[in-house]
């Protein structure tokens, strides 16, 4: 089956033998984007979280056929070092990771959260960020999520001001 995917802004056309191959395999093994991690393979831990058309999905449990014609964003596509994404910035400020293995999944889930909700309450975080971290970085993570939301609010108000001033 031919699959067309836009991954981190780059268009790919892939010939896939088994359309039920997990998207995670495609991203890691065919596109060589190793930031997205394999944890459980059963949609239980969230290490493989990435975005498909802006929605967080667990790519270990997402057949590649469902991504055909869609936009995929992985941790590599969030932003770069020169212009970190609010989530990356907040993670750096709070030195969140310990071993780091679970972090890309948490960061992608958080990026999806603050794109929809710039003022998440602790309850919103408890409901939506349900990935698993074996190093138990949850305490720093919560602070970083609130900080990322704050940075996103700043970014949005700045861009609103720029638009009002006629700047792009």
């Amino acid at each position: 089956m031919k699959i067309a995917l836009k991954v981190n802004g780059e268009q790919h056309s892939l010939e896939i033998a088994d359309e039920n191959t997990p998207l995670l395999w495609i991203v890691r093994d065919l596109l060589n984007l190793k930031g997205t991690k394999f944890g459980c393979g059963k949609a239980a831990c969230g290490a493989c979280t990435l975005h498909v058309d802006g929605e967080a999905v667990r790519s270990c449990s997402y057949a590649v056929k469902f991504a055909d014609g869609k936009k995929v964003t992985t941790i590599e596509g969030l932003r770069n070092e020169e212009a970190p994404h609010p989530v990356q910035q907040a993670w750096l400020e709070h030195v969140v990771p310990q071993c780091g293995y679970c972090q890309p999944g948490f960061m992608m889930a958080t990026a999806a959260l603050i794109s929809k909700n710039q003022e998440p309450t602790d309850e919103d975080i408890d409901n939506n960020i349900i990935n698993i971290c074996r190093c138990a970085t949850y305490y720093r993570m919560r602070k970083a999520i609130h900080r990322a939301a704050e940075l996103e609010r700043d970014r949005l108000s700045l861009s609103t001001k720029n638009i009002e001033n006629g700047e792009e």
Partner: protein
Amino acid sequence: MNRTAFLLFIFSLVAFYLIGSNNEASLEAYEVISEEQRDSLTTERAYEQVMNVLMHPRCMNCHPTDDVPKQGMDRHPHYFGMSRGKENKGFSVTKCATCHQEENNLNSGVPGAPHWSLAPSSMGWQGLSRSEIAQRLLNPETNGGKSHEELVTHMTEDELVLWAWNPGVDANGVQREKPPVSEEDFKKAVEKWFDEGAPIPSK
């Protein structure tokens, strides 16, 4: 004497078995009887069959009365603290569709079907009796304004309802148990029960 009688008895048993198993007429007769039995499905029996399906965990697990989906034959609360959220589809970011796609995922064991979601809370059934469930099912105020005709369509054609007979495998690769009535018999029972006006037995 006793020995002869015993041998005769065994012989007749074997002969009876051989004649019976080679006789096509008797097989056809069995099928005819089976069809007749189906045609003679009583309204009470149809109701029983419908309810046997609705009470099974494959259906009941997504009709909670406490906003928490259930999983497995032991009906444990859905792992990871998932609950109804907005519009019965989970929370804004972590929603049913974060893990559940349009079909079963045989690699991860995550079940899936089109419009995967909880039934609305007005259609919560867990902990209710059969007749209470039937009342909720039939009442347009709780069933989303559905007429009997629309209920028949929903119960016999909706892909999420019919997922119960294609439940896939669990996280350990073990086939999930299906409801105790076959899909075909369930559809017949639904049609029969509604044809008769969907009466709810008083006992």
